[in-house]
Symmetry: C2
Subunit: 351 residues, 2 copies
């Protein structure tokens, strides 16, 4: 992987701390993370002091910082997994890598530690090919190319704005599936990166992602909060909603989204059976969300990610709002998020 064109100083690694003791997590990632600046955002619901080992270059943000920036706004809730979005907001870097704190580096099929950051940056700095599917997977990878029948005019590709990595051991299942298959673990290492075709929608998981903050940062937002959301991934939907937003934005602006490598190793956490006892609102909402985002189209006048999010917020409010107040709140959070993004980004932030 040639990353000659990215400086370490162009990257922020954002960690949402849902657990107070980050010692083991950060020590596992030390060989990979120690070159970069880290933004650690403490879940505002977490009472204990954070424990962070020495030897990293980092800033910590906690409830007081969040309150100062967000002020009296009540639309955006940064608790639980949503805390890391605060890190996306206050970063000043071109690229963000964000990995959940229950993940450690995975090993490839030969037993070597996978440098997830390097792979994400390689995904982001080589073109994506959303307008035609290459059956040989990522054509820019060493030893790969475009397959016969691929138009030469499309071979230069487009900018990749989002890189979605995968998970070994505990896959990213929803609450009912995890509860029905409590023993299921993912052991298959699929050695591929691919561009998700334009207009094809997918559930983007926030567990292990990286993105071009300058291009699509405002689309990674905490908007959909389930009523019974806990701090276990299978109980959340915030990243699925945000992922739909960012995919629609990428399709509209002619940017690419990749999925596949890098893998991270997800450790077991929590009881899926306990989660099943709660009624998981996500099942029902997904049925409404997916067709909505599949059909939504943005006007040509929407030329930036901020424009796109504001347009989508209006449509969400009109079309989904009447069926469930959770969607109206999501639409309000989207509008509020763009305001915040502009305020913080323009340097008028009180940070």
């Amino acid at each position: 992987m040639s990353l000659a064109n990215i400086k370490d100083s162009e990257v922020d690694i954002v960690i949402g701390a849902l657990h107070s003791d980050l010692t083991s997590f950060m020590n596992e990632w030390r060989p990979i993370f120690s070159r970069f600046h880290l933004i650690i955002v403490k879940d505002p619901d977490l009472k204990e002091e954070l424990r962070i080992p020495e030897g990293f270059n980092f800033d910590v943000y906690s409830k007081s910082h969040i309150d100062r920036v967000v002020g009296s706004s009540s639309s955006i809730v940064f608790s639980g997994y949503s805390c890391r979005y605060f890190g996306f907001l206050v970063s000043r870097k071109k690229y963000i890598v964000s990995i959940d704190d229950d993940c450690i580096p995975a090993k490839d099929s030969k037993g070597f530690i996978i440098d997830a950051v390097a792979q994400h940056l390689a995904n982001l700095t080589t073109p994506a090919t959303p307008f035609y599917f290459n059956t040989l997977y990522d054509p820019y990878r060493e030893g790969a190319d475009f397959v016969r029948g691929y138009p030469f005019s499309l071979r230069s590709g487009v900018t990749c704005a989002l890189s979605c990595g995968l998970w070994l051991n505990l896959a990213d299942l929803d609450a009912p599936t995890q509860a029905l298959k409590p023993g299921q673990r993912n052991s298959r290492y699929v050695d591929a990166v691919m561009t998700i075709p334009s207009r094809a929608m997918m559930p983007i998981s926030g567990i292990n992602i990286a993105f071009d903050r300058e291009a699509v940062g405002p689309a990674l937002l905490p908007a959909l909060k389930l009523a019974g959301e806990g701090n276990l991934r299978w109980e959340t939907m915030e990243d699925i909603w945000s992922g739909m937003c960012v995919k629609v934005v990428c399709d509209h602006l002619g940017l690419g989204v990749k999925s596949g490598l890098p893998y991270v190793w997800r450790k077991d956490r929590g009881s899926p059976i306990e989660s099943l006892k709660k009624e998981w609102e996500g099942v029902k909402l997904t049925e409404e969300i997916v067709p909505f985002f599949q059909l939504v189209r943005l006007p040509q006048t929407a030329a930036t990610t901020e424009d796109c999010i504001l347009e989508m917020a209006t449509t969400v409010k009109q079309q989904l709002g009447p069926s469930n107040p959770v969607f109206t709140r999501a639409a309000e959070a989207m509008v509020e998020w763009v305001k915040l993004w502009k305020a913080v980004g323009s340097g008028s932030s009180p940070l």
Copy 2:
């Protein structure tokens, strides 16, 4: 892989014989092919007698059979790689597996011989999921499932009509790419099968495929013949055109197309440099073909694959015909093919 629901007698393996001596090819495939009925179609341009080892259940079709069925039609040319389409036409089975005669069984990452037929049949008999992308790849595979955020209403999927396998050693590149990278070989075994999303187009290669003949057979047709086409894969486009047709049909009829496993091992054959000396018309045609098929939409009245092909033929003639007579000939071949398919399929064939 559970294939309890497919009988061996429901499958034809179709081999287009571009080489007279099939001994080594068939001996390599013996452990896999010997259970099935084979249809061997001899390239009508091939003069020598075929050499086929003993121990297989097969029928051979040659120029005299083709002439008897096709009669005075001049629209369809069955020479070179196109000969195998004659096998698709005369088969009476539900499933066809077709593998080029320069391929032998590949080995997986653990060194085991891959049963390409079993994998193709597994792909065809488990559902496809074209309406939403599953980042965990084939959700029906053992140990896999749908990722969080995948609507439950879409989890039953749709019938898979086409399975496209891949290639180790010599990948399926076009003439210029193969000539520019004569030493490039594909050694990466990507252990995944995925559904190509609805409305996403891809270059489907005919080297290693299987399909549900009852569902989409009439869409696998020899229509586009390049002027300077030779009998090396990188000089051909007939399968790319046919692949576009079948993908459009599948999207229209709500059927699925999968890509990925199984791999076959492609042996080196021919000189890419020699191919480069010919002007490869494929480069220019691809630029016109891809946007055409991306935009073509079929009327709701087109309810069968035959209807769809006839509709497409009309549009090809109108929209592409004026730019190049090769497209007009392709449109005529499509109409002729549907006629032939109906005649042969209805039992009125003179075979």
